[in-house]
């Protein structure tokens, strides 16, 4: 027993909170290096971001958890679990679950840029979870670094004592030891009773082809080992544990995980729906009376249709979505049918980035070329009959005669921006039907703006415009604030006289004409010439409000067959054919993938 208590008192669980680009991944790398968890030979840059996509985008999507051994100045060796967290507004729930697995958090703030909106949101989440927060001012080697100003900002804005904040440069390895010392001395060891019934939190999972579902857990009470009968409290599923282990950072089998331990469990779990991030694992024979608080099945906010370009990929697409759903508690999908696109799925996402990531992963990891329809939000529609509907697919929008009123979701948007950009941001928010709530100075230079904005406008192209109108200086966070009645209409797009359901969208009546005109122009650019003339029309109900025409293709013929090089001619024609495969036959018209997202890509 004493051994167990000693072991538990030498565990520290922490995560890192940082804004994108503030150096989280680099700091994690340095910590792994400093503690000898990885030799420099094994060291890949930014080891924690293991997916290609994460590296390319410089963001963390999937959580990771690493066990480190650190010999502190007090002569004792501590076991540290570093739990990585995503850094984007779309993944707030995943962040909150990984925070729940920790007792402390490093708050990384860029010494030049200061606090950003997303950092702030995650700090509040951490405070809600009663985490000990250790501020770290990073990138102090930058010429533009102002560590004292940033420390002051941490105190003023968050209300944390920043006098002990470590001044660090993850890039140059400055301050790493000081950070580790603070982790050991300031973050409390995990509480938890080894003799109590098993209680553990699932904060992530992934699917392994050999082992089935691998659940990432933090043990709160009790122990878990191979053979333990376990139960997932939210789903009710029961299994016998096959293997437990920790990440060092590679998966390493251990005999047992006890209170405070962070590691993984496998139990031949084949059905991906049995495990949910945020769920509590307990002993099936000796269950804990109360699950851990905070589990929720989170609701997606943005929806779109995903269709295989090649309809024979439909089953593969379903398999891919099922696999992705496993480590993505927030991904939703259900089959839907489109007249234009055939069989596909209506999918729900946390936000635009989440949607793009899923789309890219399906195309890259599962090699299924996709058509994504323009994103939509959930509209609450009340019919004249009094019946109420929730609609996430514009093609289900009822005709005007049956419609009493429509409500659309609004979000409360917080934007932090240097004061010089306040003008452009206000203009942008107003152009997006935003309503001003509040403006506050963070310091002499930076301002927090708060607006109520329809979510539909956010999913449209708000991020891009925000970035371009502030040269990338703005940071942005939002939360759902409720539904409001709006004057909306459904816009239909007709190609060659046929309505293409997958191109329909819902728009505020005041903007309908403008948007209809621009989208016709955009589609004209995106759809290549066909063998015949193709009219493009935008219509509200029966009324056509805009029209463009794609001229017929007139010439496409190879010149010469040179010196008998038939294989080259074949290659050229095969390339042409590949190009066509990336297009979807809609009626008689071949439409490229991008066209279905055209509504997003227009500048008004």
């Amino acid at each position: 027993m004493a051994d167990n208590q000693r072991k538990q008192s030498h565990i520290r669980n922490f995560c890192i909170i940082a804004h994108i680009d503030h150096g989280k991944s680099t700091l994690a790398d340095r910590i792994l290096e400093y503690t000898g968890t990885l030799t420099s030979r094994e060291m890949q840059d930014q080891i924690l971001d293991s997916m290609d996509l994460e590296r390319e985008r410089g963001i963390t999507i999937k959580l990771q958890a690493v066990r480190l051994q650190y010999k502190a100045d007090d002569g004792e060796t501590y076991t540290l679990h570093l739990i990585d967290t995503p850094g984007h507004v779309d993944f707030t729930y995943e962040v909150s679950r990984s925070l729940a697995a920790c007792e402390g958090a490093l708050l990384i703030v860029d010494a030049a840029q200061g606090i950003e909106a997303q950092t702030l949101a995650n700090v509040y989440l951490a405070l809600d979870n009663n985490l000990e927060i250790l501020p770290v001012v990073n990138k102090i080697d930058l010429p533009s670094a102002e560590p004292e100003r940033v420390k002051q900002e941490i105190e003023d804005v968050i209300g944390l004592d920043a006098s002990d904040a470590v001044l660090a440069s993850a890039k140059n390895g400055i301050g790493i030891k000081e950070i580790l010392e603070q982790v050991v001395t300031k973050i409390p060891p995990p509480q938890g009773d080894i003799n109590a019934p098993l209680k553990a939190l699932i904060f992530d999972s992934h699917y392994d082809a050999y082992k089935g579902v691998v659940c990432y857990i933090r043990v709160i009470d009790g122990t878990i080992r191979a053979g333990t009968p376990i139960k997932f409290m939210a789903t009710g599923a029961t299994f016998d544990v096959v293997e437990v282990g920790t990440f060092k950072p590679r998966a390493t089998v251990v005999d047992e995980l006890g209170p405070g331990d962070v590691g993984y469990v496998t139990a031949s779990i084949k059905n991906v729906k049995d495990t949910r991030v945020g769920d509590t694992v307990t002993n099936a024979k000796n269950p804990t009376p109360e699950p851990l608080p905070g589990y929720k099945r989170i609701n997606p906010m943005v929806f779109c249709g995903l269709y295989p370009i090649d309809s024979s990929d439909y089953n593969d697409l379903r398999d891919a979505l099922e696999k992705l759903e496993l480590n993505d508690a927030s991904l939703r999908f259900e089959p839907e049918t489109s007249q234009a696109l055939g069989f596909g799925f209506r999918c729900g996402f946390l936000g635009m980035l989440h949607m793009e990531i899923i789309q890219e992963r399906i195309e890259r990891e599962f090699n299924i070329p996709l058509i994504t329809t323009a994103p939509s939000v959930i509209y609450k529609v009340t019919l004249t009959s009094g019946q109420q509907l929730e609609i996430s697919n514009p093609s289900e929008y009822p005709e005007a005669g049956k419609l009493d009123f429509v409500e659309e979701p609004y979000v409360k948007a917080s934007i932090i921006v240097p004061k010089d950009f306040v003008g452009p941001i206000m203009e942008l928010c107003q152009s997006k039907r935003g309503e001003f709530i509040d403006m506050q100075y963070l310091d002499t230079n930076r301002v927090t703006l708060k607006y109520d904005i329809p979510l539909a406008e956010i999913v449209y192209d708000f991020f891009d415009q925000l970035k371009s109108s502030t040269k990338g200086y703005a940071s942005f966070d939002y939360e759902l604030s409720g539904y409001r009645q709006s004057n909306l209409v459904k816009m239909d797009i007709l190609l060659n006289g046929e309505k293409v359901d997958a191109l329909s969208f819902i728009v505020h009546r005041d903007r309908a004409y403008q948007r209809g005109r621009v989208i016709c122009e955009k589609l004209k650019e995106l759809i290549p010439r066909q063998m015949f003339e193709v009219p493009i029309q935008a219509a509200i109900g029966q009324k056509v409000i805009s029209r463009e025409t794609i001229k017929a293709m007139r010439k496409n013929v190879l010149a010469k067959c040179y010196g008998g090089d038939i294989s080259r001619k074949r290659k050229l024609l095969e390339k042409q054919k590949e190009g066509k495969k990336r297009m979807k036959q809609v009626g008689s018209v071949e439409v490229p993938q991008e066209a279905f997202m055209a509504v997003l890509k227009i500048d008004e």
Binding site: M553, R570, L573, K580
Partner: protein, 401 residues
Amino acid sequence: MSIGPMVQPQGDAPPAPLHGWTPRALYIHIPFCTNKCFYCDFNSYVVEGQPVDAYLDALEREMERTVAALPPETIRKVFVGGGTPTVLTPAQMTRFLDSVARHFPVAPGAEFTMEANPGTTDPAKLEAMRAGGVNRISFGAQSFDNGLLAAIGRIHEADDVVRSIENARRAGFTNLSIDLMFGLPRQTLEQLKDSVEKALELDLPHYSLYSLKVEENTLFHRLYERGELPLPEEDVEVAMYEHLRERLGRAGYKQYEVSNFAKPGFESRHNGTYWRNEPYYGLGAGAHGYARGERHMNVKGVQAYIDAAAIGLPRKETHTVTVREAMEDFMMVGLRLLDGVREADFRRQFGGAASEDVFGEVLAKLREQGLLERFGEGEAAGYRLTEKGIPLGNEVFGAFL
């Protein structure tokens, strides 16, 4: 024509050799030019400083090895292309043509074409060519507008074309052709019309009229990628193509292929080999050949070719054509001919298989789109491009792959 063993297209059976008959056509590549044109991605090298004699030695090695591996029967069509074969000196020309005659039994009435560039054919060289058996010359004229010629990297001028044709006629050549290009950067319809008139004034029996295609690894491609190649609009290019089809037709030339026009009896017989998907020998650096159901490509570099030919057949790649692929090729290249493909030829090449059984769906779709039409009945039946299909040939050819 003797016909080799026939093949039956069968599911999992190993591919039987296609086109078992011995090639009657011979292509030889001379990869040297005086300079590299801006649009050119052919296997050619500026001749200055190149080991031309060693190359001709190597060609002889390849000829020896080729006839040993696949003894030739009477050759009815020879085509010497490049590059610019006429950059050879008269002595090199004589020696090269002698080596061809020594290794291949070229029939007395065979079509023997050599490509030439205006300004590279003096009387001595023309005499060497005539004496060596060449009886048809295809000149790369490209345009009669000196500004355009300079803009595409040609070093000759319009006058050189006229002079070269005069010289060739004086040397006894009557079967002459020139290439013209259209769709060139900044080219106008008026400029093209003017070039066509000047070409017709020469009163040649054959004209090739190609639209510019921007190929990778050319100067034009780099310019194109940078958005600095002002090509004519699609509608202008179509107008050019329509004009030259109409104008050459009016002048008594028959368009027998997408890009080729001839007086009756002067169609290029060698190129007909490719278009009918028949076998041909292919020799020289980077040359392609097709024999016994195998397509090959030779090593491309001059020295690499010389080295490879010293050891064996200088192949870079050899590829066994499957029955399916050969059928696709048959349609893809055959439909370039305006007379189209004949069902009888398809059945003969593919052991009695009917094109409609293989390509029924594609043929039906192309006919529905108005790009392809069926003609004749029974053995005489076949398919050809429609008027609408001619400028949209790639849509048709690609559909069979």
